[in-house]
Amino acid sequence: MNVIDRPISDAIVTAWNEAPAFAPGDLVRVLDRAPIGHYRVPTYLRGRSGVVEKIVTPALLDNEEEGFGRNAGNRRFYYRIAVPMTELWPGYRGGAEDGLRIEVFESWLERIPA
């Protein structure tokens, strides 16, 4: 019989990078690296920590690769990251809750273990 005896979601194996690597609430750090080429991560953000607020859907091409004409197989997720202003600017003057929101591509993020 051509029937699956469990929920479809249990039977499906997703491809590498098909599912988001991070979830809302995850603590992440933006990598501190300075490669040559076209990069969309502002310098002031590199090495800073934040919290994933939202997964930007759908998955999108890695525009850093696309800048060199490489489009195949590099679709991944952007994440909207929340970073406190005090994390970016130690002398920040303003509300304690003031913060930055910024979209960062998956390849620039690493998980901070809880």
Binding site: Y78, R80, D98, F105
Partner: protein, 219 residues
């Protein structure tokens, strides 16, 4: 009266103007733009008519579109929910097309949170909904200071945010564009969408100002 140029139209008293023209040499980027455009056309990658058409597309986008989106969100709670869930598809509902593959996140200002948008890397802006950005939005002082001292920048625009209201600066870096949904001014409860749209300024949708109040509208 005399005019400083020679062409066949009349200048009423006191309404003289400088000659309109391009006297200076083209700058570095003007030359580069012309060269690249001509190369694209010569090689058959683009036609001149396509470039002109795209300029027409951009010219058709103005803050008046964004103002209509905001006014509808103020009066239609279902639309507002869809707009906050997926800004692009809610705008498309109203016939605003997205010709450039960008997504749109709409940020709601409340009594607790004030949103401000910037593109520190260049000049990303919700062009499909607002048209071209103002010059100051593209210049480095705004781009640098919006993320380092947003409250001071807002004060310079005449916008004072109470200390216990959270400032959220959204820096647009790649594919997502942002649009601020300003707070609906008090005293507009029985206003129509068209009247409300008249209160929604470009700057209020960037987040450097509030929507105008009814008193300002009358003034």
């Amino acid at each position: 009266m005399s005019t400083s140029h020679d062409h066949p139209h009349d200048h009423p008293e006191g309404d003289s103007h400088e000659p309109i023209g391009t006297d200076g040499k083209p700058g570095y980027y003007d030359v580069m733009e012309t060269a690249v455009r001509e190369l694209f056309i010569e090689h058959g990658l683009l036609r001149a008519a396509e470039i002109r058409r795209q300029i027409e597309v951009l010219d058709s986008r103005t803050p008046a579109l964004g103002a209509q989106v905001v006014a509808k969100a103020w009066t239609d709670s279902g639309f507002k929910a869809r707009l906050l869930e997926d800004g692009r598809s809610a705008c498309e509902e109203l016939g605003i097309t997205f010709y450039d593959d960008t997504l749109l996140i709409v940020l709601e200002n409340t009594d607790r949170v004030h949103n401000l948008i910037v593109c520190t890397l260049c000049s990303c802006y919700p062009r499909p909904v607002l048209g071209l950005p103002p010059d100051w939005y593209k210049l480095k002082p705004y781009r640098a200071r919006a993320v380092t001292e947003p409250r001071k920048v807002l004060e310079e625009f005449g916008t004072f945010i109470h200390d216990d209201v959270e400032i959220r600066v959204s820096d647009s870096t790649a594919t997502v564009r942002f649009l601020v949904l300003p707070q609906r001014p008090r005293g507009t409860e029985d206003w129509s969408d068209a009247q409300l749209a008249g209160l929604v300024t470009r700057d209020s949708m960037i987040g450097v100002a509030f929507a105008r109040s009814p008193a300002e509208e009358v003034a």
